[in-house]
């Protein structure tokens, strides 16, 4: 599109936009929101272009600073990276449109305004996009820190007491994770002498036997760090509190954050640690832990007392399903997992938005208990429909694409040693989710009744409807429409994710693309000029 520079554009665009928004905010410009929206729309367009570009199956490398691969930092665009970019942009657009609606309203729901919401939002997008594109482990660490730093700021918006203590937990936990990341990265550098993921993939199989254990330790430590982000069983306890405490658009954006961990695990297990002797290092542990995560998430969803808490456990369950697919790691399960990833991210984002609308319509409470509403708040029926559609999508019931994802996954897992457990627990957790959602839905929408007598007192509180709820409804409808689109286009999408899995497992094209990428002839050869000047002296 832009002479090869389109690969770095998803990082540069939000960075520049975020910085400009800071300046616009300083000048108290009215155009902050419009500018932020424009930048996100541009990002979506860019991501669509990149998906089309990556779909020809050629991995493209981009050499930052024009240094050749193992020495400089390389970015790489393949099908997986492009898919994640598109998903990020789509979720971000939904979250942003919703936030714009909340901005016009007031009260606790207003996430933006004074406190740099839009610039933090753009910086978060920059971190996410960078993490998906980079082909360098240390660079991955840096982008993780960028997206985490932005997420700390976003999480603290309109800080309430619960939000503050959740933030402390979240920050401390992630900083500890970062320390572990650094230890693992430097261990790998110590034994292999490189941090380029493609170069590591080549060098790790050639390690001397005495260094192999160190490399294994480093690989497992990295997986632990990624599992923290992805919310795998012993490490997911930060998630429900954090996600339930964040404001709705932020939580919706965070739906993609767990997917960063999932992405990193998929990338590192197939690419960096994809060759023997490190291949299959996590295979017994990862699927087992993923299944355990599924079970606990089902219990968590059944026991949730708040809608937001329930939704947070839906996110944990989807992470469990995804890690099961990646942990088994066959071409079939990987493809099915990536298909499910698209759905589960979109539906999780939609859920956080719906949960807040429901809470607002019920006078600000998302407690799962009967509550008389007086008369139906505006758009109550539409909310019910949205709840139903999202519930069907997240539980994996036909006819929506969540069902295809799970069906594909179980079909593929059926040919592996995990078949029995995978089928039993994935279906069992789906059932538990359905029960939890049905119970929540009937409590929220049916019990307590609408139009009952003696509830006049709650009427005044129950109808807060902000004057600008339209963008919020639009955001929810758009996310659900995207879900429906993935259902209608399930065939092409499944084809794309299957190709993605094949590309991941092939490894060699990625290695060659990154390591053989040639530095381009620079427009201005600064170094040559310096050399000549040095010789003249």
């Amino acid at each position: 599109m832009f002479g090869g520079h389109e690969i770095v554009a998803p990082i540069v665009l939000p960075l520049v936009a975020g910085a400009l928004i800071l300046l616009l905010e300083q000048a108290r410009s009215r155009w902050v929101a419009a500018f932020s929206l424009g930048a996100t729309l541009a990002l979506l367009g860019l991501a669509i272009g990149l998906v089309r570009q990556a779909d020809d199956g050629v991995v493209q490398a981009y050499l930052l600073g024009n240094w050749q691969a193992p020495w400089g930092i390389a970015l790489a665009l393949d099908r997986l990276a492009a898919l994640m970019l598109l998903l990020t942009a789509a979720v971000a657009l939904g979250a942003l449109v919703y936030a714009l609606g909340a901005e016009g309203g007031h009260g606790a729901a207003a996430p933006s305004g004074r406190s740099h919401f839009h610039s933090l939002f753009q910086f978060q997008l920059m971190g996410l996009n960078g993490a998906f594109l980079t082909a360098d482990l240390f660079n991955l660490f840096v982008f993780f820190e960028v997206l985490l730093a932005a997420s700390y700021g976003l999480l603290l918006h309109g800080a309430t007491r619960a939000r503050l203590s959740a933030s402390v937990h979240y920050v401390v936990f992630n900083l500890t994770g970062s320390a572990l990341f650094l230890i693992a990265v430097s261990l790998l550098y110590g034994v292999a002498g490189t941090l380029n993921m493609a170069d590591l993939a080549q060098k790790l199989p050639l390690l001397a036997p005495e260094n192999r254990r160190l490399a294994e330790a480093a690989a497992l430590m990295l997986l632990v760090v990624f599992a923290v982000k992805a919310a795998l069983l012993p490490l997911y306890f930060w998630l429900p509190d954090t996600y339930a405490a964040a404001s709705a658009p932020v939580a919706a954006l965070f739906a993609i954050m767990t997917k960063v961990g999932v992405y990193a695990i998929a990338r590192s297990t197939t690419l960096t640690f994809g060759a023997p002797p490190l291949a299959g290092l996590a295979t017994p542990a990862l699927p087992v832990l993923a299944l355990a995560t599924l079970v606990l998430a089902a219990f968590g969803a059944l026991a949730a007392t708040r809608l937001r808490g329930l939704v947070a456990y839906l996110v944990v369950a989807s992470a469990g399903t995804l890690l099961l697919a990646i942990g088994i790691g066959s071409a079939g399960t990987l493809g099915a997992g990536l298909f499910y990833l698209v759905n589960s991210t979109l539906v999780a984002a939609a859920w956080f938005l719906i949960a807040e609308r429901i809470a607002l319509a019920r006078g600000g409470s998302d407690l799962l208990e009967p509550r008389a509403l007086g008369h139906a708040p505006a758009g109550w029926a539409a909310l019910g429909v949205a709840f139903f559609v999202a519930a069907v999508a997240v539980a994996g019931v036909p006819p929506l694409a969540g069902f295809f994802g799970k069906a594909l996954l179980l079909q593929a897992a059926g040919q592996t040693p995990f078949a029995v457990w995978a089928v039993a627990l994935v279906l069992g957790s789906s059932l538990a989710m359905m029960v939890a959602l049905a119970r929540a839905g009937s409590t929220l929408f049916w019990k307590g009744g609408v139009g009952g007598a003696g509830s006049a007192a709650s009427v005044a509180r129950a109808v807060p409807t902000a004057p600008s709820a339209a963008p919020q409804h639009m955001a929810i409808v758009a996310l659900l429409a995207a879900l429906l689109a993935t259902t209608v286009a399930a065939g092409p999408l499944a084809r794309y994710t299957a190709d993605t899995a094949a590309q991941l497992l092939a490894r060699e094209p990625y290695l060659r693309a990154v390591l053989d990428a040639q530095a381009v002839a620079p427009m201005f050869d600064v170094r040559k000029e310096m050399r000549e000047r040095g010789e003249a002296q």
Binding site: V142, A179, L182, Y189, G190
Partner: protein
């Protein structure tokens, strides 16, 4: 030299983890700081510790790792220091705000229920 370095890293990391587990925000901040020191030293050590070797260009020697020390871990450490410094500042700000809002320096915002 190596023994001192290893003991230093071990002590820092041990103290850091212990402080981190104490469930007070100030202790957690200190613990994370110590932990990041340990990590920075560890990155440095992973580039092989050599005494008196120049990082990139020496005088009239062949520029291989036999004559020079590896400059990359030093660059990595610089990045890690900057990031951990910024994150510590951020965490301190959040911890202070939490202390002011909740009136407790427990990481849960209130004392544990016994």
């Amino acid at each position: 030299m190596l023994l001192v370095l290893a003991l230093g890293i071990g002590t820092l990391a041990g103290c850091g983890v212990w402080l981190l587990l104490r469930a007070r925000t100030f202790d957690a901040v200190l613990g994370l700081t110590l932990l990041s020191y340990a990590v920075n030293l560890f990155i440095f050590a992973m580039g092989r510790v050599r005494v008196g070797a120049v990082p990139i260009v020496g005088d009239a020697k062949v520029h291989t790792l036999a004559n020079t020390t590896d400059p990359l871990p030093q660059a990595l450490v610089l990045t890690a220091i900057v990031i951990s410094f910024a994150m510590t500042a951020l965490l301190l700000a959040i911890a202070l705000r939490a202390r002011a809002e909740t009136g407790s320096d427990h990481v849960d915002g209130s004392e544990a229920r016994h």
